[in-house]
């Protein structure tokens, strides 16, 4: 889930000035958000997510001073992580292995705490569909639904017009609907 962790502007300023402890506080605050986004972008590769976020932190250390609005630190960081993950995916041309929790679905061993097996099946189909999207497409979904950014924010952070982002998200949702209705 999207977490709300606030880092004081002064901590960001200290990190910009080269304070390693302040930078470690930022890492502690936002590493989880970045890993979660990078994991979605990578299509479920922990290795890529870890490598991407480590690279993102190095980039953040170099470029933190260019961040105009310290209040936008989290969106900026998760976007850097998403971009690193996307580039790693392209370089490694990873084809994700589709993992399905067979024990709890095919054998009908549903968790009684879960409300409806049909909902869980839909969720599994969605997860499977997510894994088959391109890294670019998963980047949009991760930033929209995991990081909770709107089209304007995504567009600004990725350097694309917000209308283009809206259009691509709309197309993606249409495709997902179609794939799930065909399933």
């Amino acid at each position: 889930m999207t977490r709300n962790v606030a880092i004081a502007t002064s901590v960001v300023e200290q990190a910009v000035a080269g304070d390693a402890i302040a930078f470690a506080r930022i890492v502690a605050a936002y590493h989880e958000d970045m890993i979660r986004v990078a994991y979605v972008v990578s299509g479920g590769s922990q290795d890529i997510a870890d490598d991407a976020v480590q690279s993102a932190w190095a980039a953040a250390w170099r470029k933190l001073g260019s961040l105009r609005d310290p209040d936008r630190l989290k969106p900026w960081l998760v976007t850097v992580a998403a971009n690193e993950a996307r580039q790693l995916c392209r370089r490694r041309r990873t084809r994700s292995v589709v993992e399905i929790d067979v024990g709890r679905t095919a054998l009908g061993m549903a968790d009684p705490a879960e409300p409806d097996p049909a909902d869980r099946a839909v969720a599994l189909d969605l997860e499977r569909a997510l894994r088959h999207l391109s890294a670019d497409e998963r980047t949009l979904l991760a930033l929209r639904y995991e990081a909770g950014l709107d089209s304007s924010e995504i567009g600004a952070l990725l350097g694309r017009p917000s209308a283009t982002v809206r259009w691509r998200l709309s197309r993606l949702m249409t495709r997902l609907r179609m794939e799930l209705s065909d399933a």
Binding site: A20, A24, S55, A58, W61, V122, E127, R160, T164, R168
Partner: protein, 246 residues
């Protein structure tokens, strides 16, 4: 307040569920230290100030620039010594001849008549998203509509355009084609464009042979546009006659 889309909520839940599988634990101090170590490789400082290039390159530049300047100066002196230079006679009155611009004007000023080389800018927006089908690794886009608003130096091609485009994209990039119509105050231009799209249409090129109607009957307008993030440069030629036969 609009009702939330149930499918939107399902996708959100699926993305969160997917992300829940990630291992997120971290040793913040170690991660920060490693980031700083790796980041230092790309962060260069000189006298306490961050500089965009490694210090070694700066030193080379500092040494190279004076050397090049001296070399040019010596070379120029030597060149002048070897030539008989005309004696400069000061003009009794300031010359009224304008000093030519170092760069020639790229286009003649248009008079709005006859043949003309034209230039300007355009704003590009997708007014209708294309229908899409995915075949292998190709995304086939059909019958999308791009609206253009051209601000040109010749009123005959200053107006609103509509490009009904199709495209075959691989990773968001590929060829595009389709009919184009440009409406202006005194007439219209119609024809076909071919070009390319990239970044899923955020950028592209378009070259069109357009035939005039209304006041532009008997004229052809060839136009080439390149745009990125909604804004583009336009260059073209208006001339009497028809487009060339293929």
């Amino acid at each position: 307040m609009p009702e939330p889309d149930p499918f939107d909520a399902r996708v959100r839940a699926a993305v969160h569920g997917f992300a829940d599988q990630a291992q997120t634990s971290v040793d913040a101090a170690a991660t920060a230290a490693e980031a700083i170590r790796r980041g230092q490789a790309g962060r260069h400082t000189w006298l306490g100030h961050t500089v965009p290039v490694p210090i070694s390159i700066l030193i080379v530049l500092v040494l190279l620039v004076p050397a090049v300047a001296v070399s040019i100066g010596v070379g120029a002196a030597w060149y002048q010594q070897g030539r008989v230079l005309p004696v400069a006679v000061p003009s009794p009155t300031p010359s009224l001849t304008p000093t030519p611009s170092p760069l020639p004007s790229p286009l003649p000023s248009p008079d709005g008549e006859g043949d003309e080389a034209v230039a300007g800018a355009e704003v590009v927006t997708v007014s209708t998203s294309p229908a899409e089908t995915v075949v292998g690794d190709v995304t086939r886009q059909r019958d999308g509509v791009v609206a253009t608003r051209a601000s040109m130096n010749d009123f005959r091609v200053d107006g609103n355009g509509t490009w009904q485009f199709s495209a075959d994209l691989r990773s968001g990039t590929g060829p595009a084609w389709g009919p184009y119509q440009l409406e202006t105050t005194a007439g219209a231009w119609e024809g076909t464009c071919t070009g390319s799209l990239w970044a899923d249409g955020a950028g592209g090129t378009r070259s069109c042979w357009l035939v005039g109607s209304g006041d532009y009957d008997g004229y052809t307008y060839y136009v080439s546009a390149t745009w990125s993030d909604k804004r583009g440069d336009v260059r073209g030629v208006i001339y009497p006659g028809s487009p060339p036969a293929p």
